[in-house]
């Protein structure tokens, strides 16, 4: 359950949330009977406590059930350290790749007109609509011993599956849409006029990108990177298929949680899980802050 927390992060654009706030403020004028209001609020809180707060608390309770020393010892295990390190490396690779791809794709979609544009937009969403397990299997088909590139890879002694490259590829595929999806609407709304102005003032392509385009989308970029990172670190399905579960080598944190849990090492399992839960909490806070910045940018351009 914990390893799925990062998946649940909302993709609703910040403007929609802002609109919802305004609508809520208006609705305050309409007064339902007091009892109805209390009942609805209680119901919402009870539901959230049961399904969100309670599990989160339980994760930490279980992790610390044998005391803080046992918790720290579980995290200091070589297997745990290896998993944390691998997760960080994989997240770093896939987030940087997706940052570049996302920027290029959204630039192409927002600033140019070309045939097949709608198709490209649909294609970007593909990783969201395909089950992560299938995504993992696709890489097995491509790079496995019986796969299309399997023979070639073996001849050249390159290990993709059951190694860091395979895990990074699968994670990159699954998390591809985040940066692009955060940037496309933002860049479409901003149009190309500021870039045209920069070029007519004598700026080169690079100067235009770094001085005009990037500052305008920086909060959107951070927003996309944040969600992409949360998902990359929490990804289970696709990684599970390509990793091979080699202990101390190809287990990421979510995979290790499952293995430890299946071996009844509850403290160790929940200790790792608590790290992922903390990542989720930090992501939520950072997301809230970023959304505020995105809203401001939106208001400032709203003339």
């Amino acid at each position: 359950m914990t390893m799925q927390i990062a998946d649940g992060v909302s993709l609703a654009p910040p403007e929609a949330t802002a609109r919802a706030h305004k609508a809520a403020a208006r609705n305050n004028l309409r007064t339902e009977p007091r009892a109805v209001r209390i009942a609805i609020i209680t119901l919402a809180i009870a539901f959230l406590s049961m399904f969100v707060v309670l599990p989160l608390v339980l994760v930490f309770a279980q992790a610390f059930s044998r005391g803080i020393l046992a918790y720290l010892a579980a995290l200091a295990e070589p297997e745990a350290l290896a998993a944390i390190k691998l997760t960080l490396v994989v997240a770093a690779i896939s987030v940087s790749l997706n940052l570049v791809f996302g920027l290029v794709a959204s630039w192409a979609i927002a600033k140019f007109e070309f045939t097949g544009k709608t198709f490209l937009i649909t294609l970007i969403d593909l990783p969201f609509s395909v089950s992560p397990v299938i995504s993992g299997l696709v890489f097995v088909l491509l790079f496995g011993a019986q796969g299309y590139f399997g023979g070639w890879l073996r001849d050249h002694d390159i290990q993709v599956l059951f190694a860091v490259p395979g895990i990074a590829l699968a994670t990159t595929f699954v998390t591809f849409p985040f940066v692009a999806r955060a940037l496309i609407p933002l860049m479409q709304e901003q149009g190309t006029q500021e870039e045209e102005a920069a070029i007519s003032l004598g700026a080169s392509g690079l100067q235009t990108f770094f001085r005009v385009t990037l500052p305008n989308i920086k909060w959107g970029v951070l927003y996309g990177v944040l969600l992409c990172n949360a998902r990359a670190m929490g990804e289970f399905g696709a990684v599970s298929v390509v990793s091979g579960h080699i202990r101390g080598e190809t287990n990421t944190m979510p995979l290790l949680v499952e293995i430890l849990y299946n071996e009844y090492q509850f403290v160790a399992a929940f200790a790792i899980a608590s790290l992922l839960a903390m990542l989720a909490l930090i992501t939520l806070i950072a997301k809230t802050i970023l959304e505020r910045h995105l809203d401001e940018g939106h208001d400032a351009s709203d003339h």
Binding site: E196, S200, G202, P215
Partner: protein, 344 residues
């Protein structure tokens, strides 16, 4: 800097934005491109700036081929319709942008840049806004900052796309006068695009009237108003009455009734008669070329606007001075003081 455009053609898909445009702009001129939306005026401006490329044709600045250069090399100041100010930069940095992105070899030092930006902000009378951000400015202020930013690169040509389009009526009138005097001061060859005839006639030295990707007429504001070259120009500039007439052997007929009007020898067959609303003189019934019944009357300051049903069946609107009050139900005679008849 003179600009010469030869046989420019540009299509967007099946839409012909420019359909063979020839234009010569003199050094130091303030030229207006006037036309309805979709007439190709903005496309022409963007091609001159290097922001769009023609399908065929030539553009030259002082006789040298401009199409060989990109927008970056052309040194053309462009003021966008919605200003396109850099929203994350202060007003000062917006104006300084063109100076800061120059190649290192020719870039001015910081003190020179600051002095130059200060001068430009003084020129547009907004030096007190230097630290503000575009989002904090009014439309008129943004407009002037956009102009200062374009002037910072000491452009050879200044191009303005609907410079007053997004402003309210009062600010627009002030800025028109201001743009005229600014042009007088800096005297750089300038072209602005507008769909507002009043704006074009008031601000420009010369007006280019465009329709459907073609130039209909080029002339001074007086020329295009007093002697429209085509039916389109007459209909587009000034408020005109348009009547379908028949010309046979120099006799002009509305329906079956001959009118006491003269047509050019070149015109014959189905034609259009154009009269400005205020050029229709009101007389007693039976006098003049037309007869009609006043339908109803509204007053606009010094004039009264009357809807008149002509005996031929058409209804027209005329503007008459208020020295003789018209009333609904009056039968009056109408005589065009000036008129034009165009074939087709």
């Amino acid at each position: 800097m003179t600009i010469e455009v030869k046989n420019l053609v540009k299509s967007f898909g099946s839409f012909k934005a420019l359909d063979g445009v020839d234009l010569k702009v003199n050094d130091g001129e303030l030229l207006a491109l006037l036309g309805p939306s979709g007439s190709g005026k903005t496309t022409l401006l963007r091609i001159i700036a290097g922001l769009d490329w023609p399908d065929s044709g030539e553009v030259s600045f002082n006789g040298e081929d401009a199409l060989a250069q990109g927008a970056r090399e052309r040194h053309v100041g462009f003021v966008f319709q919605h200003y396109a100010l850099f929203r994350h930069m202060s007003v000062f940095e917006n104006v300084a942008f063109g100076l800061r992105v120059q190649p290192r070899a020719v870039r001015k030092d910081e003190a020179t840049i600051r002095r130059r930006v200060k001068e430009l902000l003084d020129l547009v009378q907004l030096d007190w806004l230097a630290d503000r951000y575009p989002g904090q400015l009014s439309g008129g202020q943004r407009q002037r900052i956009a102009l200062a930013r374009a002037l910072a690169i000491e452009p050879r040509i200044l191009l303005l796309d609907e410079p007053f389009g997004a402003l309210d009526a009062k600010v627009r009138k002030e800025l028109r006068k201001w743009l005229r005097s600014l042009h007088h001061e800096i005297n750089v060859t300038s072209i602005f695009v507008t769909h507002d005839q009043e704006e074009a006639l008031e601000v420009a030295n010369r007006v280019v009237v465009m329709d459907k990707g073609r130039i209909e007429q080029i002339g001074s504001p007086d020329d295009v108003y007093e002697t429209p070259a085509t039916a389109f120009v007459h209909g587009f500039i000034g408020e005109s009455i348009e009547l379908p007439v028949q010309v046979e052997g120099g006799v002009v007929k509305l329906g079956d009734r001959p009118l006491d009007l003269a047509a050019d020898v070149s015109v014959s067959g189905a034609s259009k008669l154009f009269v400005r609303r205020h050029d229709m003189l009101v007389g007693p019934a039976g006098s003049g070329a037309f007869e009609g019944a006043v339908q109803h009357v509204r007053n606009f300051g010094p004039v009264q606007r009357a809807e008149v049903a002509l005996s031929g069946g058409e209804t027209i609107e005329i503007d008459a001075p208020r020295d003789r009050e018209l009333r609904a139900g009056d039968t009056i005679g109408l005589k065009p003081r000036r008129y034009r008849i165009f074939a087709g």
